[in-house]
């Protein structure tokens, strides 16, 4: 088993008066895919967004507890959220490329973080990011055309390339395939098995088959609580908790 990369301890999240997460503690391991499953509104996306502090964006949202990456508390005052997000990339449910060229989409991150020193550096980052996202061959002749002109699956891979461009260690994926067709989904899943060699991946998904296919460990959330976390094999063949069993076999509600 790889070493623990992300460790969440006793996380409570509140939206105003409403509590969205209750005392969630979970460890996620380096260079593995960890899947978070659960019915809508169970808090799995909220939990995911605690890891790169995307919840900070929401005024009324407050997070209690402790999330540490490689032993550093990411909610510490000394941590700049911008540099945290440089190492913790995120891919969203709906592909959201900037309405700019493919090149600009990827160059944006390196540019604001000052990663690239020259135009050639930047070109190289764009190319390697696209290659890692298995998109380069499809778009190399139209790097300067709008990213929004790509197909849904390509757009999502573009977003993955954008996340990779700033050399993160962790990639968070929030239902990355929910807007894609099965072929595009298969390509992303294939890509994930490649990416996990280099990155720690946390994926929120509604497709249990997807969680079963791509992840090594799976956590099941229900009503803001982490019900069960175990190896994916166990969760999908013989889960320990009746709620998990009911959910994955389609008996919920």
């Amino acid at each position: 088993m790889n070493k623990i990369k992300i460790s969440a301890k006793n996380i409570d999240v509140f939206y105003g008066d409403k509590q969205a997460l209750f005392d969630v503690s979970m460890d996620m391991y380096e260079k593995e895919v960890t899947a978070l499953i659960g019915p809508s509104g169970c808090g799995k996306s909220t939990f995911l967004r605690c890891i790169n502090r995307m919840n900070d964006v929401i005024d009324i949202c407050s997070v209690k507890g402790n999330v540490s990456i490689d032993g550093h508390d990411i909610y510490d005052k000394s941590i700049r959220v911008e540099s945290l997000r440089e190492s913790v990339g995120m891919v969203f449910q709906k592909p959201n490329p900037f309405p700019k060229s493919i090149y600009e989409n990827i160059a944006y991150g390196p540019r604001i973080h000052g990663i690239a020193n020259s135009k050639t550096d930047l070109d190289e980052i764009v190319e390697t990011s696209l290659q890692k996202a298995a998109l380069f061959d499809e778009v190399k002749d139209r790097l300067h055309q709008p990213g929004t002109g790509l197909s849904g699956g390509q757009q999502q891979r573009l977003c993955i390339a954008r996340a990779i461009s700033v050399n993160p260690e962790i990639i968070l994926m929030d239902e990355p395939c929910s807007a894609l067709d099965p072929i595009a989904t298969a390509k992303i899943e294939d890509l994930m098995s490649e990416l996990k060699k280099e990155f720690t991946i946390i994926i929120v998904t509604h497709s249990m088959q997807q969680a079963a296919r791509v992840s090594k460990n799976t956590g099941f959330f229900h009503l803001g609580k982490l019900i069960e976390v175990d190896s994916t094999d166990t969760i999908f063949s013989n889960p320990g908790n009746q709620k998990t069993q009911d959910y994955i076999t389609g008996r919920f509600g």
Binding site: N52, V57, R85, N96, P97, F98, R162, S165
Partner: protein, 423 residues
């Protein structure tokens, strides 16, 4: 099986009825617009033409050797007293007239600036002036209206301003081919005048333009910055709610109130020069700001949050996310709002009346600090004047105003079209 039931027939019928109502409503609107346009165009288009009458001017009577004019400066020519000479030139049309009264009536078929027109011809052609030149002088308003058919000839003489004898002169000149109907360039370039045939909208066009530029310079940056701050950065609390409500209220405040504000504060407290496009621009900016802020906020709101999140997720600061991604996407909407606000300002009359832009200004303003009129105020001024000549000029000014408004709205549509949502 698929026969329409009674209920369905009823529903279809009511749908048809609804459509008929809608089409009627649209037709009414179109008909009113059409009537308005027809009315304005039919009475206004003739203002773009004027009647001129050719007279023969013997410039050698001023200076024997007409080549000497070339050596004179424009100022020197302007200082020449050509009053008697000009009169004589006109009398030469009808050398038989002896009666002083009739001579006076003859002079009156020309606009009062005949002397100046003869001088201007001289200045323009001083390099190679011939001894005798044919100069076209602007006809008086009365003659102009006769030529345009707006002035009924069959009224009894005592009830019209133009006398029988003048009509006679005019007819003779017409028959001699001395009357020419030309495009009225001075109408577009000159300032206002007490003589309808000499009055132009040039002054008010420039005044309006300077006012609008002032509005643009003031309200666009302020409006955009305010909107971006309120929409993207301000925490939502009672204070921002209060500001928001007030901005919405401001948009609904009657424009004359802004005029009072301008009068009370900008003129009386800050002492800025009255009747100027600067003050007009400031007052209209106050009116335009809420429109721009509301439109910009709406288009900022319309930018999907996913774009912001995308930028934040690669580690952009909030300001970078907003300035690099959100604002550029909201720009078309903001620009559209601005242009609509400008169009509103362009057509606004009431506040300008209060800050003195209703003054009679002959000169074309050259800076925002010169007293000036503006197009809608010019309409207001001329619509009040009694002379027949101002009626067509009022309509023509409205035509110009409508033309500018349509151009602005067209620009708004084009901008929207060009930057159509692309996320």
């Amino acid at each position: 099986m698929f026969d329409a039931s009674a209920n369905l027939k009823k529903r279809l019928k009511s749908e048809r009825r609804f459509q008929i109502f809608c089409i009627t409503a649209i037709s009414f609107a179109l008909i009113f617009v059409l009537i308005l346009f027809l009315n304005i165009f039919s009475s206004g288009y003739s203002a773009f033409y004027k009647t001129t009458i050719a007279i023969d001017v013997d410039y050698s009577q001023v200076i024997e050797d007409t080549t000497q004019f070339a050596a004179m400066s424009d100022d020197e020519i302007n200082k020449l007293d050509l009053f008697r000479f000009s009169k004589k030139s006109i009398y030469s049309l009808f050398p038989d007239i002896e009666d002083r009264k009739e001579k006076k009536l003859l002079i009156r078929i020309f606009s009062i600036e005949y002397e100046d027109e003869i001088k201007q011809f001289l200045i323009k052609n001083k390099e190679n002036i011939k001894k005798i030149e044919t100069v076209y002088l602007t006809a008086s308003d009365d003659v102009d209206q006769v030529r345009k058919g707006n002035y009924p000839r069959d009224l009894p003489e005592e009830r019209r301003r133009i006398k029988d004898i003048q009509l006679e002169y005019y007819d003779i000149l017409e028959n001699n081919g001395r009357v020419k109907y030309v495009f009225n360039i001075p109408f577009l370039t000159r300032g206002d005048s007490r003589e309808p045939e000499l009055a132009g909208v040039g002054g008010s066009i420039v005044g309006s333009f300077l006012t609008i530029i002032t509005v643009l310079i003031l309200s666009f940056p302020i409006g955009i910055l305010a909107a971006v701050y309120l929409q993207e950065f301000a925490k939502s609390n009672r204070f921002t709610d209060f500001i928001e409500i007030n901005i919405n209220n401001l948009a609904a405040v009657p424009s004359i109130v802004f005029g009072l504000l301008g009068l009370g504060i900008i003129l009386n407290v800050f002492g800025l020069p009255r009747s100027t496009p600067l003050v007009g621009g400031i007052v209209l900016s106050l009116m335009t700001l809420p429109t721009i802020i509301i439109a910009t906020r709406a288009s900022l709101r319309a930018v999907p949050p996913s774009i912001r999140e995308g930028a934040l997720a690669v580690g952009a600061t909030k300001m970078q996310a907003v300035m690099h991604h959100v604002v550029p996407l909201a720009m078309p909407g903001a620009l559209t709002g601005t242009i609509i606000g400008l169009a509103q300002a362009l057509g606004e009359t009431a506040p300008l009346l209060l800050i003195g832009m209703v003054a009679f200004v002959v000169d074309v303003p050259s800076s925002p600090l010169d007293a000036s009129a503006s197009l809608p105020v010019q309409v207001y001024l001329w619509a009040e004047s009694a002379e027949r000549g101002y009626v067509e000029k009022t309509s023509a000014t409205i035509m110009l105003l409508l033309g500018f408004l349509i151009l602005l709205n067209l620009a708004a549509v084009l901008i929207r079209r060009k930057f159509e949502t692309k996320w």
